[in-house]
Amino acid sequence: MFYREVGQFKTNYSSDSQVFPILQDKIGILAMLIVAFVFVPMFGSEFFLNSIMIPFLIFTLATIGLNILVGYTGQLSLGTGAFMGVGAYSCYKLATIFPDVNIIIMVLLSGFFSAGVGILFGLPSLRIKGFYLLVSTLAAQFFLEWCFIRVEWLYNYNDSGAIDSLQRSAFGYIVSGGAASSVAQYFVVLSIVVVMTWVASNIIRGRIGRSWMMIRDMDIAAELMGVRPLYAKLSAFAVSSFYCGVAGALMVFFWLGSAEVESFDINHSFLFLFMAIIGGLGSLMGCYMGAAFIWILPIIIRALPDALGLDINAATVEHINFMMIGAMIIFFLIVEPHGLARLWQIAKEKLRTWPFPYS
């Protein structure tokens, strides 16, 4: 009744191919942005910002990176954690070498290092496919993890082997380090994630993104039609790693404050893969939903026993958490292999014809 495109006529091509062709969608996105930019920082508590919103946004960004590779280009990857690590460590090095430069520029620059490493480990994808490609990304994962421990230059030879968030400012505000307020950090993270999502959606709609999807659907046919696999696959690896790298840099400087190699291990690579699958492969909306689901559900499960007054020890809750996530993944794959994003799409279709589904 309220959600339909009746009467919204398209009179030229550009209006036909916009991101949100329907007026109601535009209003919805605007409302969400207002909530995210105004209401959340206004009313959100320190805990809400620091433990829920900031990690949720950062994980979303990493999931978008992974989804570009797995969902849009069809190249299976288990190296997300390591690519995030490359971003984080290079941001740390950049921030120590150039202390006076705006930290946001450094975060974005560190994405390029990650992209370079991504291209390097993406090279085997030109020759091998499918599960065989997993070994290339796993090689990246374990080799880079090893580098983060062995190459002491990366963490400035300090004894702990950890990289700490340095106090840096952007536009006159302290945004990273211990003295930064979580509202400032939230704004930085939110802005970067929103802008990068918008960029991603345009890359995907454009020529490059369409060539990725052709490679995904059938690489030989795509090649015959003039898509060059070399460029398509490597650009997907580059863009994907760029996103992961920026997410990794954000994670250290705007959320964790200090990170060791454990923050970039294989379990994190799996976590992002789950987010991408549960959200829906090949959907940007799905990245947000998947990240929210996987990140917020465990928080709720952990808080539930206290809220209900049950006395369950923390370890048991953690185990139940694991079981829930595993069961959820299987459940979603059975019920809807295309993830939450697909459910959302079905709901929108239903809404479009409601209350007269047969009209």
């Binding site: 796993l138 090689a139 374990f142 090893w146 699958i277 059975i334």
Partner: protein, 318 residues
């Protein structure tokens, strides 16, 4: 020049000057290789029969070993614990078929792969919930596994061979032979090969896919149990084993996903390569190269043979 000397000449000089130590390294590589092969064997069984890349094989190893140890600690005699564990693996296989595979028939490979990752997580949580997260020691002596070691003295040096390792190798050989006979000589084995070849054709001649899947997952469970016992006897039974299980991936890559001999040869290549590189070349890079070297070997193999040594060539058509 110094670096070149260190890479190209020095390791071989070391090997020549201490042949007993070299043999020791080779032996440990051989043992590690057989254990990798065992894990890889579980993967291959399932991949052959259902086209599922079973990521949960690693956790099935841990789960089987934990069940065995957990039952023993709960007071069940060792022989009964073994039977009960085999029973548990059957129940697991049946449940996986009933709940997961049956509902995912005809889905893409990647979806099935994800489902096994979900299974992996579920089993981690379930295993820790039931048996606790702390490492347990395998009941090696009660299982009748030898624990001593024999010392040889070749080339005026010493070579220590642990009986446990010998047992592991013998067990691997028995298991592989049994599987080979099972696959090639029995009625069920023929059905399994038929399913591996073509699902639809197998269905049309009256082979029950569901039944085959249960059998295959059960066989993989038995392999997992054997692997779990041997790994567990060498180190503790803990969830850290599943990282070791990831090593099966390069093993599979070298051998090819569908070949049982490939799994064995791949395991040995990885086992030898890893140990030799770690001991003789690892020092140049700092220690810990064992963690990633296997993947690099696999990558090098892949560049020359994209389907592994023994894998079937996939012919792609538009």
């Amino acid at each position: 020049m110094d670096i070149l000397y260190n890479i190209l000449i020095d390791p071989f000089v070391q090997m020549g000057s201490a042949p007993d130590f070299f043999l020791q390294v080779l032996w440990s590589g051989f043992v590690a290789g057989t254990l990798y092969s065992l894990i890889a064997l579980g993967f291959v069984l399932i991949f052959k029969a259902s086209g599922v890349f079973n990521f949960a094989q690693g956790i099935m190893v841990v789960f089987a070993a934990l069940t065995l140890v957990g039952l023993y600690q709960a007071g069940v005699p060792a022989w009964a614990a073994l039977f009960l564990t085999v029973g548990a693996m059957f129940v697991l296989a049946w449940l996986v078929e009933r709940i997961v595979l049956r509902n995912l028939v005809n889905q893409e490979e990647i979806i099935l792969f994800m489902a096994t990752i979900g299974l992996n997580y579920f089993l981690i949580g379930f295993g820790e919930y039931v048996f606790g997260g702390e490492p347990k020691s395998m009941i090696a002596a009660e299982r009748g596994l030898p624990t001593g070691s024999t010392t040889f003295e070749p080339f005026d040096g010493i070579l220590i061979i642990e009986h446990l390792d010998v047992a592991a190798v013998i067990m691997a050989i028995i298991l592989v032979t049994a599987l080979a006979v099972f696959f090639n000589k029995t009625r069920i084995g023929r059905a399994l090969r038929a399913v591996a070849d073509d699902h639809q054709a197998a269905l049309s001649v009256g082979i029950s896919l569901n039944q085959i899947w249960v059998i295959v997952w059960f066989a993989a469970g038995i392999v997992a149990l054997a692997t779990g016992i041997m790994w567990g006897a060498k180190s503790d039974v803990s969830f850290a084993l599943q990282i070791v299980a990831l090593k099966a991936l390069p093993v599979l890559i070298i051998g090819g996903f569908t070949s049982i001999p490939g799994a064995i040869i791949g395991g040995l290549v990885i086992g030898f390569g890893e140990k030799l590189f770690e001991i003789y070349w690892g020092g140049l890079l700092g220690s810990g190269v064992e963690g990633w070297f296997a993947y690099v070997i696999a990558l090098i193999f892949l560049l020359f043979r994209p389907h592994g040594l023994f894998g079937e060539k996939i012919i792609e058509r538009i």
